[in-house]
Symmetry: C2
């Protein structure tokens, strides 16, 4: 199949860029040094490519992602890096897969134990105002978990507020500060695992025993601005469906593509179109002005680069792996939902 034959909007992944990204990360963080985060692509076929690079342990953000990875035979070592109050669906998989869940409170410890989960990591707050216990409380939570019969594998702590810092020196220094907190907690908790990091800090975080990066595989324009060695693999293919009336008072001339709020994650802002300025997105439309007026015509195809990969992928039922103008393979985005 050719790219031109695809119904738009369609999620495209450049096969060569994906391969480059997976290989580059595997060279930097081989094997268990990386625990790829599947939330960024929600696609078990892509996870298979990461496993082929030597990464056998994965990170998940939802129970559904864990279930889907187990069903795909990728359940060797799955971390749900997220707190849950009802762990029964995870416990139901305990005989088929190794499943570890994050805990940061008495309530989440209790949910893990009563849900039938066998192993946990203590989630430690390292500065991002989101989940995680205080570093000095991690030992107590580990003891509580052990008292409930749970295996405690170690700690995790996500320095998410540093991921998009463009100043490399500042990112390194702040990552070290965050990881000093996590190291202290790790000493109190025990266990082998210090799980942390992401695409933005994968090279800076030298304390974590494993890095939870996900976006590196497909990339987006926000991460693209940080100066990482990964290529933009993801785009949304669109068809230009309308062009501005020649005599319009509004200038310069614009065109409209059939990709919008329902096919693009918008929390990091507007998407990018090469050779054009994006004006705004509507439900099923992006209005943009080509740098050279009237060079983009109704019926043309354009590739739209999303600002944030994770929510974009989650809006699509499938993604098309492409090599130039050829669709090499189509993969279901099979880890969507909760």
């Amino acid at each position: 199949m050719k790219v031109i034959d695809l119904q738009t909007p369609a999620l495209l992944v450049d096969a060569a860029a994906l391969e480059h990204n997976l290989a580059t990360m595997a060279a930097a963080l081989p094997g268990q040094r990386l625990r790829p985060h599947v939330k960024a692509h929600k696609t078990t076929e892509l996870a298979r490519g990461q496993a082929a690079q030597g990464h056998r342990a994965f990170t998940c953000a939802t129970i559904r992602e864990v279930e889907g990875m187990v069903a795909a035979g990728l359940g060797e070592d799955l971390l749900l890096a997220n707190e849950v109050l009802d762990a029964r669906r995870l416990g139901a998989l305990a005989d088929q897969a190794r499943i570890t869940v994050a805990v940061d409170s008495a309530e989440t410890v209790e949910a893990a134990a009563s849900g039938g989960v066998r192993e946990v990591l203590v989630d430690v707050n390292v500065g991002l105002p989101r989940c995680g216990c205080a570093p000095e409380d991690a030992g107590r939570i580990a003891d509580l978990a052990r008292s409930k019969g749970l295996g405690v594998r170690g700690v995790m702590g996500y320095e998410g507020h540093l991921m998009l810092l463009a100043d490399a020196e500042q990112r390194r220094t702040m990552t070290a500060d965050c990881m000093a907190l996590l190291s202290r907690a790790a000493a109190d908790v025990g266990g082998e695992v210090i799980s942390a990091g992401g695409t933005g800090t994968y090279a800076d975080n030298t304390v974590a025993t494993e890095i939870q990066a996900g976006s590196y595989a497909l990339m987006d324009t926000a991460y693209g601005a940080v100066g990482l060695p990964f290529r933009q693999a993801l785009s949304v293919l669109a068809t230009v469906v309308s062009a501005s009336p020649p005599g319009s008072e509004i200038q310069p001339p614009w065109v409209v593509a059939d990709v919008g709020l329902k096919s693009l994650g918008m929390d990091h802002g507007n998407p990018t179109i090469s050779g054009a300025t994006v004006w705004f997105c509507s439900d099923e439309h992006t209005t943009f002005a080509p740098d050279e007026p009237r060079t983009v015509k109704v019926g043309d195809r354009v590739r739209v680069l999303p600002a944030h990969v994770d929510p974009t992928v989650a809006m699509h039922a499938g993604l098309h792996l492409v090599d130039g103008d050829t669709v090499v393979e189509t993969w279901p985005v099979d880890l969507r939902g909760w």
Copy 2:
């Protein structure tokens, strides 16, 4: 089933508010005066409720929405209020349903004709920099369509840039200006239909023969700020999964709910939580500070109000119709995708 038994995040629709909204709109715009837009809810069961109020003609934004409405037996008069360059999937339904598509160029006229579509509306630009031909060009496009054997039912023109104008007088005046353009085009085009408007201008637009409102059924916080007689029916149910460490430097105390960028449309900004200030959303999390610190605890359920209904609904596979604490019915959001 009780609301408390739902897996979170879960899309909730307050049954009484929905009923109020459908009845209020049907009283203002009975029968064919309203052509409800299904893009706002993507749910054929909800469309059935609109049909039960007397609205038999519907507006769609995607080919998939048209196909789904036909499959549900709601194909009496479907308008795809959007330009398409490949109309073959629409043409394939022409014997089962009445399907009209918007055209605004020679290319889209050609696509409709060659795809087997039988009727069109000429889409006229009335000020929003998106689709639509120049008003003075509408007659020529209608002639072109007729020359290709297409039935021309009239015109459409969407004053989308006025929908969220809070100043009622300004909204009325500007709507009248937009509709003066559309009226002129309608005179050139001929036909019976002048299709326009939306939830924000449904009461102001007295020129359109039919109003294409969709958001009124479920509502969101953006439309809620405009002073319309519709109630907030939609919310996303979330579970509080984490609370800030007592000694955190970051103050005031915050909590984290399991709803985020993958379950909330973010293009209109952060969601709203009653009695709290929302700080930010991550993929699967919303961090917020309750007005009364420490009153919201891990395990609590909260209802999160999205800023934009349309993309929010499109992220969920189903919605739960609720009456207080009881789930009355669960409907598939069956018009998703393209």
